[in-house]
Amino acid sequence: MSEEVKAAPKKEVDPNSAKARLGKIIEDHYNNLWVAKEKGEKIGWCASNFPQEIWQTLGLTVCYPENQAAAIAARGAGAKCCETAEANGYSNDICAYARISLAYTELKDVPEQNMPQPDYMLCCNNICNQMIKWYENIAKKLNIPMIMIDIPFNPDYKVSKEQISYVKGQFLDAIKQLEEITGKKWSDERFKEVMEISNRTSRAWLKATSYCKYEPSPLNGFDLLNHMAVAVCARGTVEAAEAFEKLAEEYEESVKEGKSTFRAEEKYRIMFEGIACWPHLRFTATELKSRGMNMVATIYADAFGFIYDDFDGLIEAYCSVPNSINLEKSRDKRVQIVKNNGAKGLLVHTNRSCKLWSGFMYEMSRQIGEVCDIPVTSFDGDQADPRNFSEAQYATRVQGLMEVMEARKGGK
């Protein structure tokens, strides 16, 4: 809070700045949805890690329930929506994103973040299997088609050729189904173009996030949580590629000038594991900042960096997203990030919503701690249900982590 007050007197945000551009992309994204809906176009609801190349190539209009749920939760309406879902018979045990989204099909107007109701569902379970149930239920309730690309959790380190051909079969089927539903036509030419742009965006995103490695980091790692929405919904657009390139340029500048969006002295560099606690974003960020702890490492950098050369590579990339890979590979990716970015502590969000992410997190974080020789602390929270979080516990755990990190500094 205080930081933003300090930033006053408010300067007009430079419309050319990355922040303004990224903000504009999201704003346009939601505006375009309504325009399309009004024109009678069919609107899809899409899972965050559904191969966006498909709808982008077909020129469809889709939106992202996970982004919407995060926005609703961050703006304070998470509890209201969760309670609506619970009143309709949903257990408070299921993912809060799902509860918010299921509630939205009922409420239809949640000013914290509205978007049009869906005409079809695009599901991909490479982040979790709850996704399937959530989308099934909406499709059933609204009696709309659902396209399901099943990307099974991979128990092995490498993606098997069997898995690639299974997913490929579904990919091609999904195109056919969507052509039928929307009347749009697939073009291989356009597909190539979309793949190129998507790679460009991903490279720019990875580049921008890589600036966290500088000491001090030119950014408050929490910034990435906001920018991520663009990586999700606009990866196949030139605007997104340019905005992330601009972001990287700005970070480059900041490094040179010794500036940072982390507006405190960076005393401790940590990795933050898990989704943000959107309803308590400010609190969770402030507790860190006030102690000089900056998040310089997150798996989210990787999560939306889809780099590939061809169709098979594309499929493989979607089979390798963070929640679909085994413990060893998940661990190694994080160890790499910790090492590259010089994180000296690990703060783990045990997310009540997310059984997949939290199901083997204890063991994985223990291993990361051991391999990297850094302290690990976890706290209980939820990415969207504000009721599953305790400020006191969070503050105590963060303080504890800081103290161990401080003691270790002294020892070295």
């Binding site: 018979g89 149930k133 239920n137 399901m148 099943d150 059984k355 063991e363």
Partner: protein, 375 residues
Amino acid sequence: MATVQQLLEKFHEVASSPQKQKEYYLKEGKKVVACVPIYTPEEIIHSMGMIPMGTWGADVEVKEAKRYFPAFICSIMQSVLELGINGKYKGVSAIVIPYLCDSLMGLGENWKMAVPDIPFIPMQYPQNRKPEYGIEFTKQAYLRVIRDLENITGAKFSEDNLKKSCDIYNAHNKAMREISSILANHPEISAVNRKDIFKSAYFMEKEEHTRLVNELIALLKAQPKQDNNKIKIVTSGILADSENLLKIIDDNNMQIVADDVAHESRQYRVDVPVDGAPLDNLAKKFSAMDHCSVLYDVDKKRADYIVNLAKQYNAKGVIVILTKFCDPEEYDYPILKGAFDKANLPSTLIEVDRQMVNYEQAKTNIQTFREVLEY
């Protein structure tokens, strides 16, 4: 020939002593492979001369597993891991874990570190299991299980043996479907007895279990028709093996005439087709399976399936037995409830877990439900 009572006692004994069964088979020189819910290719394990044993956890306190699982993972997964860490599966050659829900994935990933002496074999089932590419993927996943089993145990796989095992499993399916349906006419067989018949299937060689079940079928068929003044109900859920809970159902003069329980009838609805190559057939069996919370179905046909089951067996109501923290079932519940209400089929929801000690709430719930049904 045994009497009905003797057979029921035998089922009870086996259902209550998986440890003893495991030791017995090990002593016989057989290899035992643990099979985690909800579906695993037991036929393959059987065909390789090993004993597949169902591993659905137990009603134990969770201590060690807490190092791996947060509290909000279902008690089946928690207790399987707990038993593994405590050495209760010692002697087992491998454990097959199907990746059918998020919590099962957690079990597999944790298992490798928590119970390193029992090799873990993942079974990656496809959700798009019906198209050709889905059937092919199932087959490839089976081949992987076969490879792992061969490497770990030295046993050899052959399609001929698989064919025989599929026949044995089909015969068992048939016996289980038949007994379930015959029991609807036998109110004297309690819910606890019924559970024993189903549960014992996981701890016995299938040939032997089929033989006993068929014996029971023959005996029951030979009996004169009984008056039935019990309240007929259908159960639905993942697991309903708690004797405390089943006794409450018995005490309230209720009779389970059919079930949609994963641990029970969901296992036996679909047979392996017989007219192709055995492994392809087995993959086709999975592709034909439906009406289950962990199998993708955008039409949610499970809801109507249960309604029809209730109609078919003249059940007056449905008891949904929900395993706490089981998200696949929790997502289905509002849809099921909607279908029950639409069909004017009374239902009630009871939450259970494997650490439950207090059944007072369940008791009150079932008593009230009885009143509704009797009204």
